[in-house]
Amino acid sequence: MIIEKLLHSQGAWLAGDAGHGAVISTRVRLARNLADTPFPGWAQEPVRQAVWDRVHPVVAALDGMQDAFLLAMNALDEVDKRVLCERHLISLELAERADGCGVVARRDETVSVMINEEDHLRLQTIRPGNALPAAWRELDALDSELGRQLPYAFSARLGYLTACPSNVGTGLRASAMLHLPGLTLMNEMEPIVRGLGKIGLTVRGVAGEGTEACGNLFQVSNQMTLGEREQGIVKRLDRIVTEIEDHESNARARLLEKRERIVYDYVGRAYGVLRHAEVLSSKEALYLLSGLRLGLELGVVDKLDLMVLNQLMLLMQPGHLQRVAGKRLAPEERDELRAETVRRRLRGAALLR
């Protein structure tokens, strides 16, 4: 029922039109654990269950979480879990777990708290566009409130103690999802990725762990969590993201100046294939939707709402396709349904060239 409702809403990180330009969405998460309690991956099942029983009512009663929904992993099927992953409400790691694991999320999907993922608690806020400081302030308040009610595992020296030493200290991971077709087409991503690595930031493809970027989408996040204040981590990433945004508009301007034909060819092909294809893999669709987004932002694609494009980014994914179809689909069937979904949604769009 809840999942059904989600399908008809936009998804926090793609809502509104704040996400135009290079920054699609920004996200901040905190890893927290209960004192004197084994971490979820090492805990016996009854312990995990006890953590779940203790924590979920506290989370659900937090300020701003009154209208939240609660989903236990053992009550969901594979497709539902996938839908939640695609909406960034849960992680793949949580999806693979069952008893004593779940999520409490606000109905507008801007806040979610995973229980018994790698850590007892993973709190996240996600916002469309470039809004790291605001996302952090909101998460900070939520965490302080939770810390009043639950005894966190904390050491004066090492900070918040987490299952993986890579998160210890602040437990903070801030990230931005960036759409960078200009820099990619100008072949300028590689030095940027290398440079970011040198200052302790990680760049990944949109699908997460794998390194390959898809659809010109990149996720930039901090790697270090110990030895720096939360505000420092957020500010530094925020500054870098703004810088990359500037580089991207700069690259687009240079592209139009020097390689105009290549840009419009990319946009035109994207438009043509998306409007008429009968079969679309998710990778191809993501790549072409990136071209269409670029066209929209350059003003050569008309009669298309950015919201429709954002919605397609969700609806074209395997979980969403299967949930809408109401049944499991083989990959080839998904590719057909994906093409059909895209064609239908782009019916009115026009190319101004």
Partner: protein, 168 residues
Amino acid sequence: MQCEHCGEREACVEVTRVVNGSATKLQLCEQCAKEQGISVSGPIALSDVLLGFGAKQEPSVQDSAGLACPRCGMKQDDFRRTGRLGCPACYEAFEAELKSLLEAMHRGLRHVGKRPVRESAPTATEYAVPALRKELDAAVAAEDFEEAARVRDLIQDAEIERRGDDDH
């Protein structure tokens, strides 16, 4: 940068190797990394990179693999295998091995951020400054001036914060 193993090909992965509590960084090319049993293409398990690589082959002087956390029973071997700790107390139990790991992963070895509300007994500043001064003395004595400068900055931050607090 050239691969530090074969010295021929371009390095594409940085591997942090922890042996007996000390971390070294190596730049490797794809082929040498593969030969060392590190998968370059797939997602790399943290434990492979940080702990597993090469560590097993080397005779360890004080074998700590049998060490266990008194609280949750996790053995150091379990941690090496999974890359995840068993419980909050593991941080103390495996302190020696974790130190170099944390050094390789993070900006510093001391938490300087937020504290839970329940931990409010000494304020962050009251707690931090005397402890930081001791660390500063130790760093100077050890002639680790980089660390000393970092700790000095932390003390200055803390003092500015304290003065700010007094104003309210």
